[in-house]
């Protein structure tokens, strides 16, 4: 198991380093790249403790989809100037108390979780009494639990996501006027007799065009 712990420390050092670099680096795009590297190392850690399904899903969802959108927004909006102002401008004193408050809350929460894990293992057992069968793959196990015990929560989160999606579409969708849209149906159902007309043009007279 020496190799296992060596890899664990390598990944955790990278993860912590990246997490620090996300906040420290001046260039916002670099921040996002560090965030992506952080996601990847975290999913490696998940795989190391045997949670392969969650690790892969983390890669697919966060790195493959969410972080790409992050990157888009950051590249397009040029947030870097704003970020520099936050760090160096006069405004920064407003953000420090709020940041400190949130930081302390998260820190104590982590202490409670980690402390409980270490000193009161029987406390955690009550929460994890689902009875996990180690012989099946953890995809099967997650499926069994998610679609039986937690089906209502699962459906509920699906509903929330659906509402959020519809909301986003409604907020950003605007129907622009004066644009000729392509309609496949119109294109295909157009026939020769609607489109072309043969007219004998008299000399020096011209033709009336009424479309």
């Amino acid at each position: 198991m020496i190799i296992h712990s060596i890899f664990f420390y390598i990944f955790s050092i990278i993860a912590v380093f990246c997490a620090i670099m996300v906040t420290v680096s001046k260039n916002t795009v670099h921040s996002v790249f560090f965030l992506i590297l952080d996601f990847i190392t975290i999913s490696c850690l998940f795989i190391m403790i045997g949670a392969e399904f969650i690790g892969m899903i983390m890669l697919i969802v966060y790195v493959g989809a969410v972080a790409v959108l992050f990157l888009f927004v950051v590249m397009m909006l040029n947030v870097s100037q704003q970020k520099n102002e936050w760090f160096t401008g006069e405004k920064n004193s407003h953000h420090i108390p709020v940041g400190l408050l949130i930081g302390t809350v998260i820190f104590f929460e982590l202490i409670i979780v980690a402390g409980g894990w270490k000193y009161k293992p029987e406390l955690l057992k009550n929460f994890s009494s689902i009875g996990i069968d180690l012989n099946t793959t953890n995809t099967h196990e997650i499926g069994k639990i998610l679609y039986t015990d937690y089906i209502h929560l699962f459906q509920l989160s699906g509903m929330i996501l659906l509402v959020a999606m519809i909301g986003a579409i409604v907020l950003t969708f605007r129907k622009r006027e004066g644009i000729r849209r392509q309609s496949y149906f119109k294109q295909i159902s157009r026939e020769r007799k609607d489109a072309v007309e043969l007219i004998d043009v008299e000399n020096n007279k011209g033709v009336d065009i009424n479309v």
Binding site: I2, I3, V29, F33, I36, E52, F53, M56, I57, L59, I60, V63, G64, A65, V68, L71, F72, M75, T136, T137, N138, T139, H140, Q182
Partner: protein, 333 residues
């Protein structure tokens, strides 16, 4: 300690045993692509270097190696150099889980298909990084187009994979192939195979979906500023990805290494060869499409992905699962 070192060396040996043939195959496949393309257009194609022009790709690689690598003055140097490396690495690491026969696989992991899907969804970073770091308009536009395209078509590929998984009940690639022993999934899931094929074309930025590098509009898209070996790495990564998509298609729908019929003359051919035949078949289809079909318009591409493929594949999930449930065919655990 010696035990660890032994394991390390055997693993490295195995990896080299897999990677070197893959790299050679990528070089050969570039040649094949150009040949097929030429034959469709009644040209000869590359036929000068070596027999039938087989060594053309090697000659090209040599040329690239001796060319100067130019890094634009205003480029973000680290990310600019990282981009082709990322593309190439991601294209190669996915071969770790591809099963060439029942026992011939580097890592037989439980979530093999998710791994493939995750790695192919990471492929977009090489392109975005290259496009952004070049600090130039054409590469950036190309990168954005390409990223939007890959993210959109990934969705339908994911849903198609769900269709196959419903029939196998396992995420392991070896299990997926073994589940097709009696019936290849291309027969019951034929519409999904067609959609998978088209989505794979879009996912690998192949014609008719090669808008990211549409030379008439964007010079060469995200690769515009690259030269020499770095350009060659993008190129190799792209073709390795195409091969990977072909092998994914043959594992999911064409029964991987299984022979079409289990009778005497067919069983003589070893399993990995069958797998390679299927990959080649799909690849020749890829290059035929390249030669035959004109390029899509960008809004049509997005419409195809989101408004046609996604609803179709989603409804096919409903159909597959109801059929399996109704006839009690769901794979038991």
């Amino acid at each position: 300690m010696t035990e660890y070192i032994n394991t390390l060396f055997t693993e490295v040996y195995k990896i080299l045993f897999l990677l070197i043939p893959v790299l050679v195959a990528v070089a050969m496949i570039v040649w094949l692509d150009r040949r097929v393309w030429a034959f469709v257009q009644k040209r000869r194609g590359p036929n000068v270097v070596g027999p039938f022009g087989l060594f053309q790709s090697l000659a090209d690689a040599l040329k690239y190696m001796f060319k100067e690598i130019i890094i634009p003055a205003s480029a973000n140097k680290i990310i600019f150099i990282l981009a082709p490396i990322v593309t190439m690495t991601l294209a190669l690491i996915s071969w770790a889980v591809i099963p060439f026969s029942e026992n011939f696989v580097l890592a037989n992991i439980n979530v093999g298909i998710l791994y493939l899907f995750a790695v192919s969804s990471l492929g977009v970073y090489g392109i975005i990084m290259g496009g952004w770091a070049s600090n130039s308009k054409y590469p950036f536009l190309g990168a954005i187009r390409s990223a939007a395209q890959m993210v959109s078509y990934e969705v339908s590929i994911g849903v198609i994979i769900i269709n196959v998984l419903l029939c196998t009940g396992s995420l392991n690639l070896t299990d997926i192939v073994l589940a097709q022993e009696n019936l290849w999934f291309i027969i019951p899931l034929f519409p999904m195979f067609v959609i998978f094929f088209i989505s794979a074309l879009a996912e690998t930025n192949r014609p008719p979906f090669d808008l990211p590098e549409a030379e008439a509009e964007l010079v060469a898209g995200y690769q515009t500023e690259y030269s020499g070996m770095m350009y060659a790495m993008f190129w190799l990564g792209e073709y390795a990805n195409i091969l990977l998509m072909c092998s994914m298609g043959s594992i999911l729908f064409l029964g991987g290494w299984l022979s079409p019929v289990d009778i005497y003359p067919f069983t003589l051919i070893p399993a990995p060869l069958w797998f390679i035949f299927k990959i080649l078949l799909l690849f020749i289809l890829f290059s035929l499409v390249k030669a035959i079909v004109p390029r899509y318009r960008y809004d049509q591409l997005m419409k195809l992905g989101w408004k046609i493929f996604l609803p179709l594949s989603l409804s096919w999930v409903v159909i597959t699962s109801s059929y399996l449930y109704y006839f009690n065919l769901l794979p038991a655990n």
